[in-house]
Symmetry: D4
């Protein structure tokens, strides 16, 4: 019984960044802050690089949850930005769902804070409406490993695919020859080990 390979396609994918807010980030303890910041910015950079429609949303940003991290706002000045007045599940917000559907894309790449709420709820809602959902696990954070494992199990059981930003970028790009420089820059900026490889390589080739 062959299984269909549901493969990310840059012409059919949109990115949803949910509640990466300065206050909520202090709750994230399943990933180290340096690494988490890097992962979120790497996903955002990939979204830009592949020109994927991107939607930003926040929850209660005037209160303790804090504002969206400024870097994201700056990277997507023209993206739909839905500051939800109260809905915890972004999918309960009509503007958000409208913005998602306006992209016309069937594949949703989701990341957010915290995983079991801000990511899992819209993931489950979107799956129920027949979207393909790709959760970017390393750009989604929560309180601890127990919580993360529970959330992953719930989302995976419901049909979501768990990926990381690097895997998603590779699947979207398909072939290095589409743009060696661009993809190399994306990786060099966000993977210190890869940058080191490039720098070692360049020195050797310039001798």
């Amino acid at each position: 019984m062959a299984k269909n390979y549901v493969r990310l396609d840059k012409d059919n994918a949109a990115v949803l960044l949910v509640d990466h807010q300065t206050g909520l980030l202090s709750l994230v303890r399943d990933i180290d802050p340096d690494k988490f910041k890097n992962n979120v910015l790497a996903l955002a950079a990939a979204a830009k690089y592949f020109n994927l429609p991107t939607i930003l949303t926040t929850s209660f940003e005037q209160g303790p949850n804090g504002p969206l991290v400024p870097e994201l706002k700056e990277m997507f000045p023209d993206a739909p930005y839905i500051a939800r007045p109260g809905q915890i599940n972004a999918w309960d917000n009509e503007d958000f769902v409208k913005a998602v559907k306006a992209t016309g894309k069937k594949q949703l790449i989701i990341a957010g804070v915290v995983t079991e709420v801000c990511v899992a709820f819209p993931t489950l809602s979107a799956l129920a409406e027949d979207f393909d959902v790709f959760v970017i696990t390393d750009a989604s954070g929560t309180f601890n490993h127990l919580t993360r494992d529970s959330a992953w199990d719930r989302m995976s059981s419901a049909g979501a695919q768990l990926m990381t930003w690097f895997g998603a970028a590779c699947e979207l790009h398909r072939d290095w020859r589409n743009d060696v420089e661009g993809l190399g820059a994306l990786f060099g900026n966000h993977i210190p080990d890869y940058r080191n490889l490039i720098n070692s390589y360049n020195q050797n080739n310039n001798q």
Copy 2:
């Protein structure tokens, strides 16, 4: 093939707290005692906050297993309280099942000690009778990680959904606007990081 989103609904959910007894708690070593105590009390507080019918049950509380932790007894003075005379699986106790069915709810939120027995057994029994079961993993404890992982796998394979108290509370609440104060208090009382956010926010806004 769209997957139905089985979503917690405060009008259709009951809470089952199974065997949180002072002796049995000394067996719990997959979660730190400070955190575990907090998680159990947070789940109980959420049950109260959302007015969910709640059922308490214990196993052999006159013996080494010890009495129910007093805080739970105090929080639910009027809840059905089934001191099981011997049945290990609470679902084998008729009074317990009757109490569950008397709530008229289809969604069962379960937590207990120890996970692979006191939680898993009634979970599997309830699933077999077509209930939707939501296991609160961080308010359920057991001997070690190996045991926990085995129990989770068995319950998840049988159709249970793994959640934590915070995720359950958020899914039950749906929208902050239903009661900002109340939910904020629940979180502030049980999530130190969230309390800090609130306190920082309040100071800034009172300057």
Copy 3:
């Protein structure tokens, strides 16, 4: 869609102890030796306590793999003992399968060393012949966590249920009133924390 609860039944279960040999045990590094020894002996004690038909098998016991641990041999002097001449999967040995089928039981409780081979192979074979298989994960050991996780995933995906010795004993016993003393002794002998609870309780009640 209700899920049937495949529940251990002491009248319908047999125990298969596969390759707990003195040499092979030195390969086990995913569980500490003190704990692993205790788990294996606890499972054996439970098998005896519930009078479950038990089958012992070894692989190449005259060579480096070493003899069966003597404690197991002593506990089950009359059990079928299949020293396999070469088959790695015990299910490839006709005598072994005959012995299993001779028990007339439909539920197989399996543990062994190493998990991904001596446990997983007969597990997958037995599932293919429509047995219900319960893998006792904490009485099965292997090289490291990566290997264990892979083996669990393979067995669980094929329909095996992952349990630990304590969960299995509880599910087999059903009700403390069937024999409080006996079950208490089993737990007291193999769970130091439970023994402490009993000893504290006894002192208090003898004051």
Copy 4:
């Protein structure tokens, strides 16, 4: 060569709580938030219980560092409270040192956030002025284990003694008979396992 035992003495000890502020607490990642909150409050409760002179100090509490956690303020309404205008090492603040010296105590019990700065700097300064310094390691938090280990090594090499709140309370109390109830309450309030022991004991004795 006998070593003098520098032993905490409740008549000769003062407590310094340094920079437990709501913002800075979000930096603490070497101890889980539930446990850390409990440890800090337990140390404070011990300070009150033994009537030790206690000094509170904060750094820049009007800015991002946030206010002192309100619980501490409430527990010590009359304690010297030094809101430092800029000095990172509390010992560089004259009012703080004056307050310390005004206690007339030779033994200083210190805890704070973050360990390698707010705790280590005044510790090293106090040791240089011949105080005996007892660092309460579990009520002091910082970014990660690497940082903690470095800070401990520096303080220990300089002569500080590393203790936890429970050890300090025991050393201060000396003999349960000085007040069984009081010490039991302190432990019961802050050690869930100990509370369970008491509750099990009480039930058994009230049968």
Copy 5:
């Protein structure tokens, strides 16, 4: 409902080694380098030992990714070697797929670097074409545990079987009597603990 046991068969299996390149290996941090090197060479040695058709492929080996590790090249001098000009998913390379299909085997044993890309992508593609895929998890490496767990979940959900090199070798061999010496040598060369068992055994038997 019996589950078919999809069992490795040495007459029906091919091995795909994907992108074990000297540069890419510096990205692998979920397995220690000593162990990972050993696992990869053990899998290669098993492939040779069982005479399984083996296919090598690399990505951009003239650039920072670096050349294939020389040991693999030397072990399989005549194997199809596909230096992909740009395709990230090896299955997107026609020569690679042709080479796979030319083996006439239905079972594919895959390992590579990094797991979520170089392993997962061809795994999902091959499953979609009805191959049985066995991922050798301990000869596949990636950035960290979070990434690995995500990749395993995605592949397992799609129907891949997760195995390690030792389990695969055992399942391929079936019976020690097919060649005791050969299998013993394979294990002795790549499992230090097993080599120790053999050496202890030999000494005792030569006394």
Copy 6:
């Protein structure tokens, strides 16, 4: 500058077992219960084997702390047994110190629960009276690693030597030829891996 080797000497050593009580043991979470029980019994067995004067003491054994674990009482029926009426530091109890000094030994081997109190306090007191103190770290337990590390640092800085039961037994025995059987039995009973080595060896030699 040569350092004197302060070496355990079976003619000059006494063993102090402090507060291994059934209630207090539930507080121990830095060592797994199976392993910890084994370590304590192994140390006791070594004390008996080497005929070292051994002193037992407990704190408040009629209350929640619970009675001494019965195994220890049974192993040392004639040992001085000091049930302390309230002193937390055993060295503050005159009978205890008298019993220690009555042994006439200069080297004290100490273990107990919890490490930073029941072990550290008498250790520091004994060092101050010029005893050589050997803390058996693996037969001493406490709340968590942070607490253990702090306690070890304090004791080591004061001059205590940190050893484990196995190291102590080896240093006391000096030469296998003093009694091969006896030491082998001690190790075989308490080190599963060593028992396996013996059993493998015996089989090979009996072929």
Copy 7:
């Protein structure tokens, strides 16, 4: 006996960055790459911020060790740069020692790759010449924790002080009032949690 507090002084400190080369960085596995890169750049930024004389050195940079990471070269275009022709201990290179002594500073802040060699050797050499050495542990990396712990023990025993970049920056700055903006920027750029605090604070204060 008071201990002198050897305190970092920005007028008396120099920074030595040893062998942060693109090839050698692939050997560092005791700190995650994202975090390590950040720590090294943070130390460098602190060195610049406090105008500390800084010396760069590399080992064999034309070979496999690779070039100095370009960011460091760019940050310190005018710093002494000693490309050592072969000496493993930088202190064995006369130019390096001359450069160090030319700074006229008595306090040396050292970091490098790998810890037990490139950091430990010059640390021990400098201590032997009476310098005060402050090892920046989180900007120094090596193969694994075992190696790190050994190296730290050797350096600490020889008198080196173990600090992290944040602690060093705080000790150098002394008082926030010397420059609130500058220090805040340094922290905001290299501590994501601190940046979040600042951003939350700013939003609240701009409402």
Copy 8:
């Protein structure tokens, strides 16, 4: 107060390999077997490379402890080989001490199994006779981390220096120019990451 740098000197160092026997190796669980085997062989290779006098010794090699690992015997066919008839501390064996003193070296490099006995005992004895002792921590193994930490603390407190094989090799070599090829080969054979760097470098330079 300057500290003398006790620096390894290849003209003044001898290597002692204590009890690396096939049976005892199964007790080592603080280091993974693949890595431990590599570390021991790397140390041996370094001893050969620097022509350091090397002494082998075993304990009871005809019994369960098993023979010396054959690789070591083969690497040092002419080294003094002391099969101790019973002494646990090798330094209690006159032949061993004679062999050590016959080397005329003042610096002893020690490794063995298990750390707290076979390494620590001769280390403490040698320190007492004024040797400089360098313990190679990564070529010495034992039961678990707790035991290792205790043993390291005891040896370090007595004046031993903790090093790893790589650090020792670097300190012995002093300057790459003494033999670039030789040292590179030693590292390439025992550090997979370093071998990868070399292979990447070579490819680039051969293009």
